[in-house]
């Protein structure tokens, strides 16, 4: 997870260089909050996986386990009025945006208590009050849409930013580059977060991408980019602080490539035969985002193992409540079939 030198294949230097990744200096409270949020996502996703297995969740279900540090680090740098948009692997983004895990889990079970009244499902959740604009199932669509959110922020003359998350797979969609181009022409305040978990479903980055250093994908649009250890929440946060500052000051878009890893398959029905067990195990054992923060907390000594265990119990209880709510919430009334088509 070290950052590679910013050179082209021919050895020429990249057009825009950014400072080397830094570590955010988190206070004890912040560190604990990062830990709790990441744990919340992981426990939520484990529960979602289990409930999928029990037939309580239908359709496609893409879990975020392994990638928690990305969304937790990014969102911690935002302020009210900023907007966020992503693809279909979004449960964690919803929770960290401030949506009640109950409403998220009930959306997964397709119940009336779900954040989209059960009409969106795992891939289509929204919380505009908290700045979260979905939840989009067409790979890459959120990049154009997120650029539009940034356009709106600039049109309204705010200093808000838009964060558009997408994966290494979406990074090969044409509209990503259409968006990069417009964002730079108009200097829109959009931060493109490439969550490079290294596999677009089953296709590795090296098989799908002529330029595998995805942080450089903005170079021909004169958009600065930075590669970040996406398993390290403090590095994520520090890089995001730099990008946010760049955007809020009116300098236009920024690309952050998060080198991350999903432990589970692409979706619940993916056996993930395209990578070795050893590879997954190595990431879990050596780079796990939650373990890293836990170790920092223990090293700093402001919480001990037993106290963290208590925190874990508290998180588990919240998730258990969410799971109960998601099963007890009634299915949507049949009249809901016809609502929300048009205003």
């Amino acid at each position: 997870m070290t950052t590679k030198k910013s050179t082209t294949k021919s050895g020429a230097p990249a057009r825009r260089r950014t400072a080397k990744p830094q570590q955010y200096k988190a206070s004890n409270d912040e560190l604990l909050e990062f830990y709790e949020q990441m744990l919340m996502i992981r426990r939520f996703e484990e529960k979602a996986g289990q409930m999928y297995g029990m037939g309580l969740i239908g359709g496609f279900c893409h879990l975020y386990i392994g990638q928690e540090a990305v969304v937790v680090g990014i969102q911690s740098a935002l302020k009210k009025g900023d907007s966020v948009i992503t693809g279909y692997r979004e449960h964690g983004h919803m929770i960290v945006s401030g949506t009640d895990p109950k409403a998220v889990m009930a959306e997964l079970t397709g119940r009336s208590g779900g954040c989209s009244k059960g009409k969106g499902g795992s891939m289509h959740m929204f919380d505009p009050e908290n700045g979260f604009y979905g939840g989009h199932g067409i790979v890459g669509a959120q990049v154009s849409l997120g650029t539009g959110l940034a356009f709106a922020a600039k049109y309204r003359k705010t200093d808000n930013v838009s964060v558009a998350y997408f994966g290494d797979g979406a990074a090969n969609q044409g509209q990503v580059y259409e968006s990069f181009n417009m964002a730079r022409i108009w200097n829109l305040p959009v931060i493109y977060i490439i969550e490079n978990n290294q596999y677009a479903m089953g296709t590795s980055v090296s098989r799908s991408s002529s330029e595998v250093e995805l942080y450089r994908r903005g170079e021909s649009f004169r958009i600065p980019g930075k590669q970040v250890d996406g398993m390290n929440v403090l590095e994520v946060r520090a890089a995001m602080d730099e990008a946010v500052k760049h955007c809020r000051e009116g300098n236009g878009p920024f690309v952050l490539e998060m080198k991350t890893y999903r432990y589970r398959g692409h979706s619940m029905s993916d056996p993930a035969k395209y990578r070795s067990k050893e590879e997954v195990q190595k990431m879990r054992a050596e780079h796990d985002a939650i373990d890293q923060v836990k170790q920092r907390i223990l090293d700093a000594g402001f919480k001990d193992e037993a106290e963290l265990k208590e925190l874990d119990k508290k998180v588990k209880a919240i998730i258990a409540d969410a799971a109960t709510f998601a099963q007890e919430s009634p299915e949507p009334n049949l009249s809901e079939l016809y609502t929300d088509v048009l205003a």
């Binding site: 309580l56 505009p128 669509a141 181009n181």
Partner: protein, 466 residues
């Protein structure tokens, strides 16, 4: 409390599977995230992780067992601090039923009120919709369709700072077809925005801006190029309100010329009305004259929903009378009876309304009194007006510049058959463009598109007057 582990569903369609292998044995301790078993589904071999910490107290289904139903109890974990021996496994018989699976949805037909609306989802009740009164003595001005469209945008932009216009050549060039002429001068480059040639991107950008409540007017140089952007029109603009349970809006207008122009070949000459009209969550408007263009474009910009507004290049330079009124806005979803008649109803929209009116003149010379209805809005469709007309004339011809299969004409025909069957004295007849890509040669192009003569022929046929 012991933790029950059941046979998991590992795909949207899996009902049973083979418990291929246990990776733990009784007495082993497991942590959340540990792989405990391998299961073969109909598609693949999947690993199953424990989501709890504990000790394996009992394995209830041996490895190698085929056809284990989803939901069957396969193992029991003792929680931390719980003695494995205390875990009561006797009562935990393997259960075959998916007890915790949600009850199946009751079929919608159980609710008769809702059943009724199922087949008319795209239609609207137009009874309460009315064109605004044009007071006697109102000054009428002659405007081209082009000017009427420009005036509509300008008036809405003056009223509402959230409205902006974006597209290729809309600003400095003054519009590829001069529809946005003068807007840059009046509203400046922040609200009249030239884009790169990047339809997919700026349609998505517009939809994203609309999610926040801005009201973009996205111009496509022609709707042929909107094929590059159709994903955002349908998947992003039309569906987001529904998918979000009403939380996210998308008040956007996609506008531009649609259909054949003059000898521009097959790729620049397609009518997309039927494509967009197929999509719930969109409104689709295709007006004919200048007054309707103005009144309906204003309504489209004011509308809180995504609207596809289909213009016609050949009409841009045509002049019509437009009432000089403040805020002349027409209702979306209301057809216009252009000419009253008693013998046959001719339904059309957009440029073909002109051919329908010519056809009505020709029919009048032969003693056939045709009623001409301009749909104006394709979705929602004003079926009430059509049905009322057919009740009077008992005959209907639908004329449309566009291919016949799955066309607007096909749909109108089907709806009249379902809802006005008893009033029909002849089969509803479609008059469409010839079912080929539009040719370039002058004579072939003329032969491919709908003419007044084609409409006359069809009208006479349904009147049994050949």
């Amino acid at each position: 409390m012991a933790i029950e582990i059941t046979m998991p569903a590992l795909s949207p369609t899996m009902e049973k599977g083979t418990l291929a292998k246990w990776l733990v044995k009784e007495g082993d301790t497991v942590e959340s995230g540990d792989v405990i078993a391998e299961i073969e589904t109909d598609k693949a071999t999947m690993e199953v992780e424990s989501i709890d910490d504990g000790t394996v107290a009992k394995i209830l289904v041996a490895e190698g067992t085929d056809d284990v139903p989803v939901g069957e109890l396969i193992a029991i974990l003792a929680e931390e601090g719980e003695d494995v021996k205390d875990v009561d496994t006797s009562s935990s018989k393997p259960k075959a039923e998916k007890e915790e699976a949600p009850a199946p949805l009751p079929a919608p037909k159980e609710d008769p009120d809702q059943q009724e609306t199922v087949f008319t989802g795209a239609a609207t009740s137009s009874k309460d919709l009315r064109d605004p009164e044009v007071p006697e003595g109102t000054n009428m001005v002659k405007l081209t369709v082009r000017e009427a469209l420009r005036d509509a945008m300008a008036e809405e932009m003056r009223k509402d700072g959230d409205v902006f216009v974006m597209g290729e050549e809309v600003a400095e060039y003054q519009g590829a077809y001069k529809v946005t002429q003068g807007l840059l001068d009046e509203f400046g480059p922040e609200r009249v925005i030239d884009t790169p040639i990047t339809e997919h991107g700026f349609a998505g950008l517009g939809a994203g801006a609309a999610f926040t409540g801005l009201k973009p007017v996205i111009e496509f140089m022609t709707f042929n190029f909107a094929m590059q952007a159709i994903d955002h029109i349908i998947n992003s603009a039309a569906k987001t309100r529904y998918m979000s349970g009403g939380l996210v809006q998308c008040p956007i207008v996609f506008r531009g010329p649609n259909g054949a122009a003059s000898r521009v070949g097959a790729q620049h000459s397609q009518n997309y009305a039927a494509w967009y009209a197929n999509v719930p969550g969109l409104k689709v408007i295709a007006p004919y004259d200048a007054a309707d263009c103005k009144g309906l474009l204003k309504a489209a910009i004011q509308d809180p929903n995504p609207v596809v507004f289909l213009e016609n290049e050949l009409m841009y330079g045509e002049s019509f009378e437009v009432p000089e009124l403040d805020d002349y806005t027409l209702p979306i979803g209301k057809a216009r009876i252009f000419r009253e008649g008693a013998d046959v109803t001719i339904v059309s929209y957009s440029i073909t309304v002109g051919e329908a009116l010519k056809a009505a003149d020709m029919l009048a010379e032969e003693g056939i009194n045709a009623e001409v209805i301009d749909l104006r809005t394709i979705r929602p469709l004003d079926l009430d007006t059509l049905i009322e007309s057919v009740k009077k004339t008992n005959r209907c011809v639908i004329a449309e510049e566009g291919w016949p299969q799955c066309s607007v004409a096909s749909d109108v025909s089907a709806q009249l058959m379902e809802q006005a069957f008893d009033w029909l004295d002849a089969p509803v007849t479609r008059v469409n463009s010839v079912d080929v890509p539009l040719p370039y040669a002058n004579n072939l192009e003329k032969a491919a598109v709908v003419s007044a003569a084609d409409i006359v022929k069809a009208a006479k046929a349904v009147c049994y007057a050949e």
